[in-house]
Symmetry: C2
């Protein structure tokens, strides 16, 4: 009896321990994806060569505009381009020659060295949604984003196993003046997370602030010798490079910080309605933008970017998860690899207003395509809603869970003796089952991707527990994660210095909301 | 004034005509997919050769069971297999030799010749969900399926542009006796649709009834010389071939009708927990099953099938849209192509209880994987819910819409002069837009896949219209389609003969519910 009691108590204790383990929040970050599967390629060599030749024709005969940026025009003239007003015509082969100094991959350092990422090669680095002015959740509905929302997203990204990167403007904190919000955003990334992050691009001075804050975080010398930010430089397609984005690019390239040079394509509006035509324009724009980074500083890290959506010709709305966007992305990946540049594209794209089935179809189409296309840096990998107008809390954790699927797919297929499982097949034999066999017992823990969110319960259990849909499960997960967030350790002196920098900067200028 | 009035009236009339066109239901069926994109392959030659050698070892040393089927054991003995009880051990190379007579592709004829399909090669034929005992819709919830539900699904499949096939047991009509429901199901496929369909496999006598009804529909001689049914023969994995399924297979093969020989895999339960081990077992099972069709009738059309899911090791529930299931499917496609057999796998798989985001992520993962894996016949391509327990009306039209995405992806990328769009890039130039340019005007109608369901409206419009989610939009579409259904034309004498056959058969035996 005494023994039985003891046993029961032990089992009870074990059960409590197991329950505690299940409810505890482990902060674990998977290493960036190193693909062990092929890339998916839709263009043959003939098509690639035609597109490459056409892109050179675009640069040489049509040219690109560098707007309100006389210094850029001077730089282009110095390297041999033909300047007419703000139009830059780049002789055949010149851009391709200039970009030879761009590295094929680079390390972006995180303040926690275990979370540094290598961008390029066969790797895939995942970063959250960027840019939405609105947020949404089931409880609060759709509303303008605030700094409080921003901080929550940074915490969720920090706690997500499958996100390697903290991102940049995960939402626009509209309650902070436009000319000061970059400071709060950077401070949040630097202090609430220890993953790598992005710098500000809304003004060259804000890019400079980003560099200076990194000098506090990482040390001045470290920043000059290493890449600690990857920032998003959009091209105003078709073929227009505005002074603000180029000004930010100049600051980053000069400081050896990485830029994503990224055409912003809504097919049929900002690019031709055909895939091959769009790829031609994308390649021409990227060649010009990447070449410009190398004019600023040869060897500066830079990514071949392509934000791709198609268009609904009835309404003019951008559309996502469509076959045409996939074709452009697959093709752009091939062009990037032929240039030897890291490639940024894809994301949790959708046009839906809610984190519903439409959102998930569109998102899954885009995420799968991104993995297959050989993307190296995937911005917007979770949380994107309503064409990018909304950062959605539930969708953030829903998408982040699906990023685990990409990790699993990228592993490829083992075929060593253990994986061949011949002993298991012999042991079980016709009509048996594998649930308890030795091979299953030895391998089941690592055999399958595990969701942190989706429901696999029997119908009756699920119904008794409230018949929750994915969004309801995600609401609970968001709440659970935020309730269990703990700030990663940081040298208090550095935190204080960062806070002082932000306070000084804010005090140095009046608020501006444009 | 008079002229203005006339104009206004003309515009009004045009508007009414356009509205009528928008609301009219066009019955249009896309041709089966002919892929112009590569297959995605995860196994290298070494892995494939190991798996192929191991599968021969499984057949020769472990063997498979043909249960309660002495005639099958005799047939196997006659071709050189070693029989021990119900165990059939197949010497190395024998199965591979036997399947050489199986065709690499075949035509399944529909009663409307325009809807006949060619299964094999680079084609993909899409068929709806198969087997659920329950149905669900937003209004009626989850309930046992009836013959009325069955008829509705046949009508929806008939009206779906992207479905090439009417399928088989789209749901189990549980209100009809088990021994008679195949008659009603076949009658529905034959009369409510003109697309190709599947035969009964729940008893050899019901397979025979299926053949006889086809003889009425197509003519006796036509059926003997052509394939008019593709039917699903599941293998009771691991390595067990039961007498009912084999009895149905024998009827179909003897009559030159196509069988899908399909291992039913829940990885970790019915197959090893590893991908390579699962593929070994799948290949061994398919080799034995396909060889058996060729023993029955050399040259009988047959498909390499693989129903693949993984398992949640906590609950034992099957899981869908997972990386491991994708790896098995990609690998099985490679093995099927090396055997020169058509390949069946994938579908609108999900474990979710509702047509929500979980359902859509899992489904989109599975559909994309199926296209990429080189699947030739995709059963369950729309309407699958809750691990196959439920056929969902809303999800049926949601998934069917996504099948349009697969059609678009499969097209590949054109790069002729029109597609290169150099004139458009010249015409628009830096800073312009492509919405109105000549190239866009000439190409926009065909440039992009168009949804029949998803919402692309501006937020404000969407909100004014009731802020509907995907399921609500799908409910409306189901209702609209069913209200506009019109039976395809049929020779009344044939319809009467089919109805008489069904009535006679039903009268010839008492109801049985097992």
């Amino acid at each position: 009896m005494a023994e039985a009691n003891t046993r029961r108590r032990t089992r009870g204790g074990g059960g409590a321990a197991r329950r505690a383990e299940r409810t505890a929040v482990k902060i674990e970050t998977a290493k960036y994806i190193e693909r062990n599967i092929p890339n998916f390629e839709v263009l043959n060599d003939e098509a690639l060569e035609i597109i490459e030749a056409n892109a050179e024709t675009v640069l040489a005969e049509i040219g690109v505009n560098f707007v309100d940026n006389p210094a850029a025009l001077e730089r282009w003239r110095d390297v041999g381009a033909e300047i007419e007003g703000e139009r830059v015509r780049i002789p055949r082969g010149l851009a391709r020659e200039l970009i030879k100094t761009a590295p094929s991959s680079f390390t972006q350092h995180a303040r926690n060295p275990e979370k540094s990422v290598v961008v390029g090669g066969r790797n895939l680095v995942l970063a959250p949604v960027y840019g939405p002015p609105f947020v949404r959740d089931a409880q609060g509905g759709r509303r303008y984003a605030t700094m409080e929302d921003f901080n929550k997203f940074v915490k969720l990204a920090y706690m997500s196993k499958w996100l390697h990167h903290s991102g940049g403007t995960v939402c626009e904190p509209t309650d902070v003046p436009v000319n000061k919000r970059h400071l709060d955003m950077l401070l949040a990334h630097m202090t609430l997370s220890d993953k790598p992050f992005m710098g500000s691009v809304t003004d060259p001075s804000r890019a400079q602030d980003s560099v200076e804050m990194c000098e506090i975080l990482f040390g001045k010398e470290f920043v000059q010798n290493n890449t600690v930010m990857t920032s998003l430089i959009n091209i105003n397609s078709p073929m227009t490079f505005d002074d603000i984005m180029m000004g930010a690019l100049e600051v980053y390239a000069k400081n050896n910080q990485a830029c994503i040079v990224s055409p912003f394509i809504v097919g049929g509006a900002m690019a031709p309605v055909s895939v091959a035509g769009t790829l031609t324009q994308v390649l021409a724009e990227v060649l010009a933008g990447v070449a410009y980074t190398q004019i600023i500083r040869p060897g500066a890290p830079v990514i071949f970017g392509a934000f791709v959506s198609s268009i609904d010709m009835n309404s003019g709305a951008p559309t996502f998860g469509t076959p045409e966007a996939s074709h452009v992305t697959y093709g752009a990946g091939q062009l990037a690899r032929r240039l030897g540049l890291p490639f940024r594209s894809a994301g949790s794209f959708c046009g839906s207003k809610l984190p519903d089935a439409q959102a998930a179809y569109e998102t899954a189409n885009s995420l799968n395509m991104g993995l297959m296309a050989g993307v190296n840096f995937m911005l917007h990998a979770c949380g994107w809603l309503e064409g990018g107008l909304v950062a959605d809390f539930e969708k953030f954790v829903m998408d982040a869970d699906q990023l685990g699927v990409l990790h699993g797919l990228a592993k490829g297929v083992a075929y060593d003796e253990n994986a061949q499982a011949m002993d298991a097949i012999r042991e079980v034999g016709p009509g048996g089952h594998y649930l308890g066999c030795a091979h299953t017992q030895a391998n089941f823990k690592e055999a399958f991707w595990k969701t942190d969110l989706l429901d696999y319960k029997p119908f009756e259990t699920w119904e008794e527990e409230g018949a929750r849909d994915t969004r309801a499960l995600a609401s609970a997960r968001v709440e659970h994660l935020l309730a269990n967030y703990k700030q990663p350790q940081m040298d208090p002196a550095i935190q204080a210095a960062l806070e002082a920098y932000v306070a000084d900067k804010k005090a140095s200028m009046p608020d501006a909301f444009t």
